[in-house]
C-alpha cells in the first residue's frame, strides 16, 4: 500500500491579495499536486494563482512554546498607533 505524499494548498483569490491556505491533498509529485489543487480547490472560481508545498516541508512553531514565542509581544503596546494620544483637531496623523 503506497500512499502519495500530502501537500498543502494555498490560493490567491484575486490579484492584489496574498495566497491563503485552503486545505491539503495527496499527489505523487509537484506537477500533479499543482493540477490536483486546481481541480480540487478552484472549481468555483476561487483562485487566480496556486501554491503547493509538501506538508512535510512546513516548519511549524510548537504549541508548547506558544508563551515564549508570542506573549512577550503583549506589553509592547507602543507598537500600535492607538497607544498615542493625539490632540483634538490634528488631522492626517
Amino acid at each position: 500500500m503506497t500512499q502519495w505524499p500530502l501537500w498543502e494548498v494555498f490560493v490567491r483569490s484575486r490579484r492584489g491579495l496574498s495566497h491563503v491556505h485552503v486545505g491539503s491533498l495527496h499527489a505523487p509529485d509537484a506537477e500533479l499536486a499543482l493540477r490536483n489543487a486546481r481541480d480540487v480547490y478552484t472549481r468555483r472560481q476561487e483562485g487566480v494563482s496556486l501554491w503547493v508545498v509538501p506538508s512535510a516541508e512546513i516548519v511549524a512553531s510548537d504549541p508548547g512554546e506558544r508563551e515564549a514565542f508570542f506573549d512577550p509581544a503583549d506589553d509592547k503596546v507602543y507598537r500600535h498607533p492607538t497607544f498615542y494620544s493625539v490632540p483634538d483637531g490634528v488631522e492626517h496623523l
Binding site: T2, L25, P28, D29, R43, R44
Partner: protein, 310 residues
C-alpha cells in the same frame, strides 16, 4: 501564566488545533467521526452516480456530475482533516474497505428512479445540512474549517434536488408518481440519518461536552421535520407518515415513530445495497493500485534523475 489547557480552551469555546495537546479519547472520537463522515461522502457518490449516464436532459447531467464531483471533494477535505490527527488516508480507506469503519446507512438504499436523485438532494442533503451546519462550530479547528467549505458547496445540492422534484411533481402524472414514490421511500431513512434517539445515544453527552456535537439527535431531527414539511406542501407531495401534524402547543410538527430496528439492520450490513456499495468501492481502489504505484515509481525516478543531474 499557565499553558492554556484543553479544558480551558473548550470552556472558552476556543478551537483545538492539530498540534495542541488533547485527550486520547477526544482524538479517537474525532478520527472515528471524521473518517465516517468522509467515507459517507465517497460512498454517497454511488447512488447518485448511478444516474449520471441516464440523466434525462444534458442540463441535469451536468448538474449531477458537478454534484457527485463535489462529494468526492468533500470526502477529500474530510480525510485531510482527519489526517491532521495523525492518521493516513490510506489507513482510513483500508478501515472502510475491511468494514471496520462505517459510513452513513442512507447510502445503502438504492436509487431506483430518476426522482430518487431529487429525493436525495432534497431530503438526504437537507438532513445532512441540518447535521453539518453546527459542525462548522466544532471544537476541532480543521474539522470545522472543512465543514465550512462543505456547507458552502452543499448549498446548491439541496436546491437542485428540490428543483428536480418540483419539476416532476408538476409534470406528467407518471412523473408525479415517480416523485411521490421516491419521497415515500426516502423519508424514513432520512429521519434515521440523525442517529438513534437521545435516550439511546450513549456517546452523545461526551461529544456535546467536547464541543464536537452541538445539538442532540432528536433536536436536529425535529429541526429537519419542521423545515421539510412546509417544503413538501410547496412540492405538492405528501410525506408517508399518517401521524404527521402541527403541534400547536409545542410549536413543532409531531411525527410518527422511526423504526430504528431497520437502521440497526442496515448498519449491521443487511441493507439493500451494502454489498454493492462496498464491492464498487473496493473494486475501484484495487483497480487503481497499479496507477497509484506507477505514479509513485515515476516520482522516485524523477527525484533520482534530478539528484543525478545536480
Amino acid at each position: 501564566m499557565p499553558e492554556v489547557t484543553f479544558d480551558q480552551l473548550l470552556a472558552d469555546d476556543g478551537r483545538v488545533e492539530p498540534r495542541d495537546e488533547m485527550p486520547d479519547a477526544y482524538r479517537r472520537t474525532l478520527i472515528r467521526q471524521i473518517a465516517q463522515h468522509a467515507h459517507s461522502e465517497i460512498i454517497g457518490m454511488q447512488p447518485e452516480g448511478n444516474w449520471i449516464s441516464r440523466a434525462p436532459s444534458l442540463r441535469r447531467k451536468a448538474i449531477l456530475m458537478a454534484k457527485v464531483q463535489d462529494e468526492a471533494g468533500h470526502g477529500l477535505y474530510l480525510y485531510a482533516a482527519a489526517e491532521t490527527l495523525g492518521v493516513d488516508r490510506a489507513d482510513l480507506l483500508d478501515q472502510l474497505h475491511t468494514g471496520r469503519q462505517k459510513y452513513s446507512s442512507i447510502f445503502n438504499y438504492p436509487t431506483l428512479s430518476w426522482a430518487d436523485v431529487g429525493a436525495i438532494g432534497w431530503l438526504v442533503d437537507g438532513a445532512a445540512i441540518v447535521n453539518q451546519v453546527p459542525l462548522c462550530r466544532c471544537s476541532y479547528g480543521p474539522y470545522a474549517r472543512a465543514m465550512v467549505r462543505v456547507c458552502k458547496e452543499e448549498s446548491f445540492h439541496q436546491r437542485q434536488g428540490f428543483e428536480i422534484l418540483h419539476t416532476l411533481a408538476h409534470g406528467s402524472p407518471a412523473q408525479h408518481a415517480m416523485a411521490q414514490d421516491a419521497v415515500d421511500r426516502y423519508w424514513w431513512p432520512s429521519l434515521m440519518m440523525f442517529g438513534p434517539p437521545d435516550d439511546d445515544s450513549p456517546n452523545s453527552a461526551r461529544s456535546m461536552a467536547w464541543g464536537i456535537k452541538r445539538f442532540s439527535n432528536d433536536e436536529l431531527r425535529q429541526r429537519f421535520v419542521d423545515m421539510t414539511v412546509p417544503q413538501a406542501e410547496v412540492l405538492g407531495l405528501t410525506l408517508p407518515d399518517p401521524e404527521l401534524r402541527w403541534d400547536e402547543e409545542r410549536g413543532h410538527y409531531a411525527f410518527g415513530t422511526v423504526d430504528f430496528s431497520e437502521l440497526q439492520e442496515v448498519i449491521a450490513g443487511n441493507g439493500p445495497c451494502n454489498r454493492d456499495r462496498m464491492a464498487h468501492r473496493v473494486g475501484a481502489h484495487e483497480d487503481g493500485a497499479w496507477v497509484r504505484d506507477a505514479a509513485t515509481a515515476y516520482a522516485l525516478k524523477q527525484a533520482a534523475r534530478t539528484e543525478g543531474a545536480a
